[in-house]
Assembly symmetry: C2
Homo-oligomer: 404 residues x 2
């Protein structure tokens, strides 16, 4: 591919018009939107309004003027991105806290089933939180097995299959419907973590029959650093499952100030404490972009961007650990290199921001809303240059710890 | 007291200079800073810098440029307000989530002790969360008793005494050292909720020997709606107690991406997921005000403001349910009235924002950093007018539900 080829693709790109919705710094090709999405321009006036008018002027009255319903309102905005009903998603807390609540709740559904099954190498907080959650339910245990042993690990003691839809390192994607059906065939529930797939690939929880899901909003949804996460509970489970972190915002009548906890109906019972309204306001502005995004076009462009970088990586001799089949991956591409950290730093020095994942992975995010084909083509050229020039051998690139 | 008397007090007020640190709306006397503190002016440039430069320009690199340490840095800023060491406080999550973590951890310290003791009428989330937390520890139970039965409820089965320092409704204040000593005498730990006392009254956890504490930052600390809460764990307990909500941010090496959870040393183990950086940035700017506040002057002015409103309430014939002794209360004043909701609305219509607490309490916050004596004197005059004119009988004032 040449630069002109990439430009031709950009001219025909139906998603190109979304780029201007983001404030992208000059001179940077940002291939880390899968870790922290960039700033949507609409966040600035929304934040200003929340600070100056809603907080500054309206003060406490703003709780009655939209704040109290923000968790449900933002949940309804995310719902179409995962194929859920607007009353099946709520926003607040962190992905980790949502995981804890959902795992404990799932374990309590059937006392005869005591095992949570998950994948070795799953995103760490999923496994760490599962460790903590099983410690809160008598007799419960966590079974962590390799991907190819998952099917055999499901049995009549399995309460929950806990999987991350798209792998944070390799971008491998589980078949949502297939693995949901496998869990159900074993009599278990399934809890999906969509952190690396929501906004990156099409998701349909209703068609797949998903029971529970969580997801991060600061990656492909561009909600801002540490933006509040979402929780999905299928309507059929909403009355049966209970939130173990039973805070007042999940009470049936929070402002009745009763001593005893009575869970709210529907998704509101999954709320815990008072969510950050400043964080919610930023996320709400970021979510508005999605009302207008064609998910099929998104998937097509993600695949086109992947091909450009995959070709560049192949030309540079880098082994790619992301599946070649678009249906079997998310929207990032990962290469192995023995000095992946130094390579990442050398790319950053040339204006290409990707990230490193220990011990030897260079991870590059492909976010079709604001990356052009030409951006990704240039990144590929720079990747080839860095590898060919051995720029990554410069010890200066290995001195700082990457944190993402 | 006359308006001139109030103005004379304002001229001599060493805290008057802090008023300009806040953006207060024209025509409003804000007596609800105990529920949602007003906007500190410094939040605006801090938020703008976080959005435009740190998020917008620096993007993922900002995690290495201060974000990752925000929970500890903000904890260290709060520590002096409660008499803690800078390494004993951390910020993130909600008060409710911190309560959950601390209660479960305290129950696990000694398997021979199974009871959490708390007060009937405590702030609801404290009791609701305690209900959920005892459900996560085999054999544990929650004993909720009236204030005058608390002393007798402590026995050799008590694992934890859970108290709110200043009562959200009446403003009654527990003697911190005395009740901490009572818990210890019974062999129990104590967990204090400082939500209605931090920034309102002097607190010294070190002198009192407090084990655990949590607190809200959106009331007297003015961190913004739903601002992240803090958790205090005395250094002597930091190695022994473990966080049941064991998320990756509390791992010893979060970016080593290990399957197994290993808790970080010190306070970092109490982190769960990625905290909202937008919320943290606002709170950090708000906390900077406190570096320069004389806590003794704060307590003196709170007492003076209380006297002005107490006298006005007495003149209006309203029973006051807040203790007359300044050492036995926080920094708000509550009156009973059979139509307290309508009275609250009638005051709001006259520019005095306080709040209603079911079933019959009018609650008015006295926040010495930004209220003048004249403000509070005028609020007292308006309170007398509303009661005398029976303006609260207007049915228009009883139609909207107050939410705070």
């Amino acid at each position: 591919m040449t630069r002109d080829d990439a430009r031709a693709l950009d001219r025909a790109d139906p998603l190109a018009r979304h780029r201007n919705a983001f404030a992208l710094p000059e001179g940077v090709i940002y291939l880390d939107g899968n870790s922290l999405g960039p700033l949507p321009r609409a966040v600035l006036p929304a934040s200003d309004d929340t600070l100056q008018r809603r907080w500054g002027e309206r003060l406490i009255r703003s709780w009655n003027e939209g704040w109290i319903d923000a968790p449900q309102r933002l949940g309804a905005a995310i719902a179409p991105l995962i194929g859920a009903g607007p009353h099946e998603v709520i926003v607040g807390d962190t992905t980790s806290t949502h995981l804890f609540k959902a795992i404990v709740a799932a374990l309590r559904r059937d006392p005869a089933r005591r095992t949570v099954v998950s994948e070795a190498g799953n995103f760490p907080t999923d496994l760490h939180i599962a460790e903590g959650a099983v410690g809160c339910v008598p007799g419960a245990r966590l079974k962590v097995v390799a991907r190819d042993a998952l099917a055999d690990a499901l049995d009549d003691d399995t309460a929950l299959l806990l999987l991350t839809h798209v792998h944070y390192k390799t971008a491998e994607r589980f078949d949502l419907a297939d693995w949901t059906a496998r869990a159900h065939a074993a009599g278990a529930l399934v809890l999906w973590d969509f952190s690396h797939s929501v906004g990156a690939v099409p998701i349909d929880v209703a068609a797949a029959g998903v029971d529970l899901a969580v997801g991060c909003t600061y990656k492909y949804l561009n909600g801002g650093p540490g933006a509040p996460a979402f929780l999905y509970v299928a309507e059929r489970w909403q009355a049966a499952l209970a939130n173990p972190v039973s805070g007042w915002m999940g009470h049936a009548e929070p402002f009745a100030f009763e001593d005893s906890y009575r869970p709210a109906a529907g998704m509101r019972r999954w709320l815990v404490g008072t969510p950050s309204i400043l964080a919610m306001a930023s996320l709400e502005a970021a979510l508005a972009i999605w009302a207008d995004v064609d998910q099929a076009a998104l998937a097509r462009k993600s695949a086109a961007l992947f091909t450009i970088l995959a070709d560049a990586g192949a030309a540079a001799g880098l082994p790619c650990i992301t599946p070649a089949d678009p249906a079997a991956r998310g929207s990032h591409i990962s290469f192995r290199h023995p000095q992946a950290y130094a390579v990442t730093q050398a790319l950053i020095a040339r204006g290409v921001i990707g990230d490193f994942r220990a011990p030897d992975v260079l991870r590059l995010g492909l976010t079709p809303l604001y990356l052009s084909h030409e951006d990704v083509w240039r990144a590929g050229e720079l990747l080839r240059t860095v590898i060919a020039d051995a720029a990554w051998r410069d010890p200066a690139y290995a001195t700082r710890l990457a944190v993402t």
